[in-house]
Subunit: 248 residues, 2 copies
Amino acid sequence: MKHLPKLSVRAQPHTPCITCPIRPRTLFATLPTRELSKAVQYRLNQYAIGAKEHLYREGDRIDEFYTIFEGWMILYKTLRDGRRLILRFALPGDLIGLHTDFQASSRYSALALTPSVLCAFGKERFEAMVAEHPQIGMQAIQLSMQETALYQERLVALGRKSAEERIAHLLAELFYRLYPHTEPLHCAAPFPITQEEVADAVGLTLVHVNRTLRRLRELGLIECANRRILVQDAAALAQLGQLDPEYA
Amino acid sequence: MKHLPKLSVRAQPHTPCITCPIRPRTLFATLPTRELSKAVQYRLNQYAIGAKEHLYREGDRIDEFYTIFEGWMILYKTLRDGRRLILRFALPGDLIGLHTDFQASSRYSALALTPSVLCAFGKERFEAMVAEHPQIGMQAIQLSMQETALYQERLVALGRKSAEERIAHLLAELFYRLYPHTEPLHCAAPFPITQEEVADAVGLTLVHVNRTLRRLRELGLIECANRRILVQDAAALAQLGQLDPEYA
DNA sequence: CGTAAAGTTGAATTCTTTCAAACACGGTGG
DNA sequence: CCACCGTGTTTGAAAGAATTCAACTTTACG
């Protein structure tokens, strides 16, 4: 754990993260169940991390990668003068920390927004995993390309969409990633994110995000109850934010 | 070729694209030379495509992916009202068209800026390739993650950098991707891109890009000779654009 | 040599930020 | 149980950045 300072290890939960019930965006989704037991061997550990704690910071060299079992995290980069941009919100089931060069240090920081539970895998064994189970390699490629698609969408948003569109886009994206259902949902949980985090994700000012959220609230698309954003009408948000309707 | 309308096939050049001399960013970079001959079998074809021709458009279903052998291309997305954002410039050696879902249609368009030569591979054989040569799978993962890193950088640029910084960032990025050397270079070729393309890549207006380029020109960082942008001082551009200095 | 595409410039407008100050809520400790 | 504190939210006014509109110039190319 030397490379992961502020990290506290706790007893392993009963449910192994491989079977993360939320959404099977893991490396092992395509493995036949018979082989799962073998795959689990590659797991290194499970961690619990508190809200506002860093899993790692820009520049850290990490020799593991992770699947989020529970909790919300953000991956962000900072410029010299402190400007911050949130690259993506990492939700339960997401894979994080698999970088370009397995030796190289991370180019962004990973911070828990809520208390989170992570499942860690050793990087040095990754290549062996792929050699033994080519499907894992294919799955990693798939996941990586899904991530790429997400970044492409966000790039269009930050580059060519208005404040209103960007925020609607972000909220709809998060909603559909959390609830990839088709039927209208009534029981969505409020997002554990602050307006400042929205601002840093869409490339706007906190103040301007606040004003824009007010407009969305007046339109009945969202609700802001006790410091939480609650999506009321995800379809309308997606429409307003020109979100490509293929996130399902 | 049915899915690739405006595409003209021409006689195969003598040099196979596998040995693309520019930069070995191909899938086969890590294969031992003995095995290369086998890998070449996966190649489907080679195409030549003229300037301003599309390789494919948003929504097209393509069953190949490509390595650029020669030429500059752009990958872009368009919003309903015509706003365009260039996701990335694809340079010789780059891999394009490997999408999330191998069946799904492309979520962006690919357009040649200059006459280009491409090497095509069949997607349906990709999985077999990976199974046979796990190194190819690993290489695909590496390439995909490099692409991700590129998108992350651009996201920070569009989200949190000023006009001047964004443009400096873009030009420096292109420069270092084209000339990944460390020593100062004196013989860099001008970029075959218009100011409108710069604008659509950094998320600004053509007019504002023009004004900003003038400032960079006055600073001596670039030169704009006969409709081409020529980088004069890549290091200064990278510094000004806060480009992470790890593109080598 | 004429035309179309690309580049350039100015002025007015719009969008977003900055600065500054309140306000609200949740948790803490007395 | 209440005062207090800190974090997060809200609002106004002024300044700044980028866009829009519109015209004009330059260049490449047939």
